[in-house]
Symmetry: C2
């Protein structure tokens, strides 16, 4: 990056953006495909909204982070801005089209004019990958479906099975607990933000913030701590339901009933083993109204001594938007890899008619980085999907290069849908053809020899076999049966029995 081109021209992408290419883009596409397959399994439909919206559409949705919105230049006509997330465009879409219910997914880039930190993975252009359910349904059924989707995604991503935890809480339980503890109504949101830091800061630091910075009575703070430490499975819900002061609070009571029902559903869906009901989870965004959740993984949770972290936290003013905290500093972990919750009021901000919504956003950039690190230890990605490289064997003055013959074989394979390449040289050296196949990690070679071809035969060779393997030099097959032979080998079946070895 930053290489100079002709003259004074800077040959680079804009600050905070990057090109994706090579095996990085291959892996990212695999992640998208895995996630999309899960979304489709649950009846998801995709929508595609414009990359920019009327500026008014975004105004008043992001609080002080509105300053991070990219505006288009005023070139006459409407004033527009690049989208900041996919949720507000989704709410605009629902309101504009008076959508009654939808399960929609959207995988697309969003834009934030933040101070980029490329090494930490904080970019100005990055992908979001959202699934949201809008509509009026019986309680906790869409919520359960979302959490089942989360489980399927992380079980199906390579190297994630068994390595993730879904932390869950409920805004109504939290609000109820704050009331019970005696937090004044106007301090509930700010105290909630303080509680949300408990995954990164020790209690002493959070307590100090509550008492010194936010003016909470110390005994109220200490009471919050007795609840905030609760975490576990459904037992946490039952424990709270057994506390008379808790169920006496209407908000907490309702939230706990919701959570108990959700746990029943998640029991059926086999999601409970991955779940952690966690009273210290609060989430930053104001618009959540029900369940809230985030997914953490090995290496995404904080790993440094809590004191160091507390110091860092003090120095860095934390952004109000939880997604902004995309630090990859290994001493503090990367934060959550997916997060979401129920937000029943957002669509109403556009149309005046609220539609209940619940959703999840997968942080594909973080998921990509972690997956890449885990994979690189075990397996290498193929840069292309080409399965067969067609080569000509020969040399010397007599060697024609067999270009028409290689092209004819390529055509035959393409006609059958097989991914195949050959070298664009009339007389290629065998060595260069092997090199090209190896560079592309192509698993199979077809090698044409003039004598064999005259006899209607063709050689098929698996690349990368160890010395001494009986098929190291390839096997000779009938040219007429080439496609079936290759298809059998690609589908992992034993090759055709009647081939000539």
């Amino acid at each position: 990056m930053g290489k100079e081109g002709k003259g004074n021209f800077q040959l680079k992408t804009p600050k905070g953006t990057r090109d994706w290419s090579g095996t990085d883009v291959v892996l990212r596409e695999q992640i998208f495909t895995t996630i999309t397959n899960v979304f489709k399994r649950h009846g998801g439909v995709t929508i595609d909204t414009p990359v920019f919206e009327l500026k008014d559409t975004l105004t008043g949705k992001y609080g002080e982070d509105s300053k991070l919105i990219y505006d288009l230049a005023d070139q006459g006509g409407e004033i527009c801005s690049l989208r900041y997330d996919l949720t507000v465009p989704f709410a605009r879409f629902c309101a504009q089209n008076a959508v009654q219910n939808i399960k929609r997914y959207h995988i697309a880039k969003v834009y934030r004019r933040d101070q980029p930190a490329m090494t930490k993975g904080r970019m100005r252009e990055f992908y979001q990958c959202d699934f949201d359910i809008a509509g009026q349904f019986d309680p906790m059924l869409p919520d359960a479906e979302i959490l089942r989707i989360v489980k399927e995604v992380f079980e199906e991503l390579p190297e994630w099975k068994g390595k993730f935890t879904i932390k869950i809480n409920h805004r109504k339980i939290l609000d109820g607990i704050f009331q019970i503890c005696g937090v004044p109504e106007d301090k509930i949101r700010t105290i909630s933000s303080a509680v949300d830091k408990l995954d990164k800061s020790p209690w002493e630091e959070v307590r100090r913030e509550m008492v010194e910075d936010k003016g909470l009575a110390p005994e109220v703070a200490d009471k919050i701590w007795t609840y905030a430490q609760l975490k576990g499975g459904k037992d946490v819900v039952e424990k709270l339901q057994a506390m008379p002061e808790v169920v006496a609070n209407e908000s907490a009571k309702q939230g706990l009933e919701n959570m108990a029902l959700l746990c029943d559903y998640l029991e059926i869906f086999d999601v409970m083993p991955a779940l952690s009901v966690d009273m210290s989870l609060a989430r930053g965004l104001d618009y959540y109204t029900g369940v809230i959740y985030e997914v953490v993984t090995e290496g995404s949770a904080p790993s440094a001594s809590t004191k160091d972290v507390a110091k860092k936290e003090k120095k860095q003013k934390k952004s109000a938007d939880p997604d902004e905290d995309r630090s990859n500093d290994p001493t503090i972990g990367v934060g959550s890899v997916a997060a979401g919750g129920r937000y029943d009021e957002l669509v109403g901000m556009f149309s005046g008619k609220p539609i209940p919504c619940v959703g999840i956003s997968f942080g594909v950039d973080r998921i990509f980085s972690i997956t890449k690190a885990r994979l690189s230890e075990s397996q290498a990605l193929r840069p292309t999907e080409v399965d067969v490289f067609i080569m000509a064997f020969g040399g010397g003055k007599e060697f024609t290069g067999m270009l028409p013959e290689r092209m004819a074989v390529a055509k035959q394979l393409w006609d059958a849908g097989i991914k195949a390449e050959y070298l664009w040289k009339t007389k290629p050296k065998l060595q260069n053809q092997f090199k090209a196949a190896e560079n592309g990690k192509v698993p199979w070679a077809i090698i044409l020899g003039e004598d064999e071809l005259k006899a209607g035969k063709i050689k098929v060779k698996e690349m990368g076999l160890p010395d001494g393997h009986p098929e190291k030099d390839g096997v000779v097959v009938e040219k007429a049966k080439l496609v079936e032979e290759i298809q059998a080998r690609l589908s992992g079946k034993a090759s055709l029995p009647d081939r000539t070895v």
Copy 2:
């Protein structure tokens, strides 16, 4: 669109943009998948570049159409613009990374602040779908591969097989012919643009433009016409090669040798039947240096009386960029559905080191519109991919709704990767469940009955069977074998033989 929201707020997408949803987005995704599969079959790798580039990167690449570029507001820092096409970012990528060779595809949105004509399909945000090959190879081999890709794409798109023609010409042949006819060197580009109108205007009108507007001698124009009428297969190349004055021209001679070789290769690849060597094809863009081609289809070629068209042409100043001519006016056709050519100099504009390139851009918006029109006559698209809808059968006071049972079946199917839904109601009416399945065009229903379930049985029903069909009311199968049963039915195999009818 244009509905009013709360207060003065306008609930709409920006001018010239639209949301994609419903079966439109399903069909468009199918088109993307078909095209991507072909690209991958030929070893294509994708790259993803930022949606905006440094303004300097785009400057000086689009001539007078530069005024259509969207700029980002100056909010401090670098000055950026939204990409206008995918070709210039690709050239920037190749130069920046000193790419020696690549087969890259890129499917993404581009932005042009043109006067939108939504009914004609001319949008300010639209998709391009490009495949380009960069690198030094033996002559015409990458060019042949691109044209084979074009053939495969249009043969595999639904309702396109046999309905497209690839028009092809070569800049060097054209330039040679112009020299032979006596076109002054400084008029070659502008006369070339006039010739390019022959697909929409009659010769009389093009001749008038050449002579009256562009000051060409009438006998020169008439000589051009003798060549411009030539069209056909390889015979056109042979006819020109048999003309002594043509082969005496070095440029024409080289171009014809190229074309003859390309035709030999396309013969092997079975592309010739779809090809029309057409001496009236010139293409607008300046940067082409070798073969040029465009794909036309029934309904994309002009259909009105040529006089009317000529009048229209006179009124509308034609844009210098051929992609701009996206009119859907049925009297003049939609123009080409894919176009491209060889451009050996563009990368050199960035790095000073030219890399030979050849490419194709598919006009997915046009392809979408034509495919949609053709499909709507015969078949309906499914809005989701859900294969199974799980229902509870029952009613009256005793009816529990069997929610846990429906959820358990859903889990069982999801675990097996089967796409399934159920109604998010604790006690749904059977009628509403059928309605939901019908609305989603879900092909299969699983119907739970309390008595059957107790006996370990479950009913499977194909939706939409005609009255009198033996399986109209469904078939009862073992609950334990449900997944195999569904998988067998979805894979199109006969259902398992041992099921209970």
